[in-house]
Symmetry: none
């Protein structure tokens, strides 16, 4: 049973993404979800649901309600349901202090944060590497109760890094031989992925069925295959690679920007970006990664055409003749970028992100990407992406990362010229 | 109670957006949501939840399970829970035929669709103008049971056009006087906000209690006050403004970047950004907004010091003498930015985001922000932010937006010099 706590959820202020994430992750472990319940921050309702869930299921995961404020009730309610008191944990308090002030200034931490160092007695703490709220887990009767923080950026790694291992042994008994294959699918609509998988399953004549789960992240779809034999899963995955192309189907879960970062880092190369429609998103993605200064020199966001000329030396006449979204403009942008930044690799993106600005000839979603190395390699590809402004921008950024990767690894970029869907 | 049916939801294949939509729509009608439950397509579990929900609440909305396939169970389960049989409705069947073949080809409709012309006896049908599955609603004991189709594109208009009118009269009575005050709090730790609110509540001697909820977004905390009288809520909000400062406490829910965008747009001004540690985040935030080309010219992400010199003309000697994170560097960056981009407003940010790079004198979280207009106004402020790399970057971006706002509106920026917490 999944139990999500938060008045903002009940009142529809924020979208509950936990059920999807946990549902597909548990499914991948062979654990079926009885139900998902969301309740407001009200102790009575919350406790009643928690007790009922502990009666019904072997595993209850509570999300949210671990913050320092008075409407964060999960610690108290979990302790009551477990029939134990709350226990102050020195090590959790130390971690909070360190997070707040580099370990030196205990005076700087608000007293209400002290609340977060308490967990139900006898429970195990789950460290939170991305926020202040630790999670916890422990047995209540014959059930396992797990409490995770509400922000997805904290919940998701905590679940994957600390909870899965605790569930796997149990899940393993039940699901011996439960092979799981995890991969990524890039730049493809979820519906095309679904249809392709269904066709591949129909065409496979072996007994036993491969099932799948998908999770749509900002920059990729995380695909999980389970059920059937390992050979069947492999066959299906290979079939998918053949259908969608090896550039778009990856045999691991890795953000495209991390992959480029690793290539650059291990080879001692540097990159810079010239962005128009993506408006800084590429620079932001790479600088999200700690240590990015090793490989990233900087970028030029030339949103206005005049800045394409002034900062990237794209001739005004060229922009007038071919337009800012054209092969000619993208190539001139990457050339200007390399002279401006002196990085080993320069990638330029220009596109029509919408909602306005599309024409019959160049509809919203038209993207030109030019990658260029100081050594003289060059690759320029146009893409035709679908979706909202936000989606076109995010997919343009992924496409730019893939063009850069092809340029550096010599991978055949022809798969990028014809995207599925 | 909201009850969502579908194995795809439980297994995390698709994201449940119903709770957010219905939660906020019901909230607006003054109806508070007791809980939201999602169950797989299994008759036993589904019926048990539905019966329990009908006992607990005056209104139960079931979403999904109205399709033509064998795992669509809502019709049967609702009829059983209501203790009535299913009834074939000629008018629903005619509508289905029309939808399928323009009314001419009854042969073209799959037999399984006939199922969709049945609803529980005595219930009202809800027409579906966007799909084949009609909804229905009717009384069960003292509760109202509403069933809506799963696809959001069918559910949302059906709810707004046909269900709201049935709920509004009763809802109005219950919800009289339910005042809600919504605001934003910027650059303040959630724990400091909590302590301040608790102190203000203790100091308020009136009867009746104001309660609050907080939601932490990337760029702000959304604060909701409810309960007590309108005057009490206002008093508490004013108290908060006095404690944290009027720049950091806002009387609406509005993203800081949208606020700057509006000021720029209505005054016909343009902005550009010079970013170091924020690495493109500011440019990305403003270009997230459709229409940003009206106000945003572009940006320079000078992550590497050499680029600060080459692109922003920051003297190398200055960087050597004061360091890249200093008042001198920030001021030189904004000056260089204005000459490079010719925008009316230029904002430069330089900071130590961590995890590495901090020193005793300039610890992680040290930020210098310089805003400068073409007309000669200038404002330079240093901030000392806490938190992870990601948090320092996000807060630096918000701080930069506030410096820009102060520069343009003439608001007293002294509140920014001493952040709470």
């Amino acid at each position: 049973v999944l139990l999500a706590v938060g008045t903002e959820l009940s009142e529809g202020v924020i979208l509950n993404t936990h059920f999807r994430f946990l549902g597909s992750a548990l499914q991948a472990l062979g654990i079926s979800v009885l139900k998902g319940v969301q309740v407001p921050d009200e102790a009575g309702l919350f406790e009643a649901e928690l007790r009922m869930s502990l009666d019904q299921a072997d595993l209850v995961i509570v999300t949210g309600g671990l913050g320092p404020t008075s409407d964060d009730l999960t610690r108290e309610v979990a302790a009551r349901a477990a029939g134990v008191s709350l226990e102050f944990r020195d090590e959790l308090w130390r971690q909070l202090l360190e997070r707040y002030a580099g370990g030196t200034l205990a005076a700087g931490i608000p007293a209400s944060n002290r609340k977060q160092a308490y967990i139900p007695a006898g429970f195990d703490a789950l460290a939170n590497s991305r926020g202040t709220a630790p999670g916890f887990c422990g047995a209540v009767g014959k059930s396992l109760l797990v409490a995770l923080p509400g922000p997805p950026a904290e919940l998701e790694p905590m679940f994957l890094e600390q909870v899965v291992a605790r569930l796997a042994p149990g899940a393993g008994q039940e699901g011996t031989g439960q092979e799981v294959l995890v991969g990524n699918v890039l730049l493809s609509p979820e519906s095309v992925l679904e249809e392709t998988l269904q066709r591949l399953r129909r065409e496979d004549l072996q007994e036993g069925e491969v099932r799948w789960g998908t999770r749509v992240a900002d920059d990729r779809i995380v695909l999980t295959l389970r059920g059937g034999s390992k050979q069947q899963q492999e066959r299906m995955f290979r079939g998918l690679c053949e259908e969608l192309g090896p550039l778009l189907v990856r045999r691991a879960d890795e953000r495209p920007v991390e992959r480029l970062f690793e290539i650059l880092r291990t080879r001692g190369l540097t990159v810079s970006f010239a962005e128009s429609c993506t408006g800084g998103l590429l620079c932001k993605l790479i600088t999200d990664l700690p240590g990015s200064s090793q490989v990233f020199r900087g970028g030029i966001v030339a949103y206005d055409n005049e800045l394409k000329t002034r900062l990237l030396k794209v001739p005004k006449a060229l922009l007038g003749r071919y337009g800012a979204v054209s092969r000619e403009a993208a190539e001139a942008m990457s050339a200007g970028l390399l002279s401006a930044t002196h990085s080993t690799l320069g990638v330029a993106v220009t596109c029509i992100a919408g909602p306005a600005g599309g024409t019959e000839e160049k509809p919203v979603g038209t993207v030109w990407i030019s990658g260029r190395t100081a050594s003289g390699l060059h690759l320029c590809i146009d893409f035709h992406l679908r979706g909202s402004r936000d989606m076109v921008r995010r997919r343009s950024a992924v496409a730019a990362l893939l063009v850069a990767e092809c340029l550096l690894t010599g991978a055949d970029a022809s798969g990028l010229r014809q995207l599925p869907g």
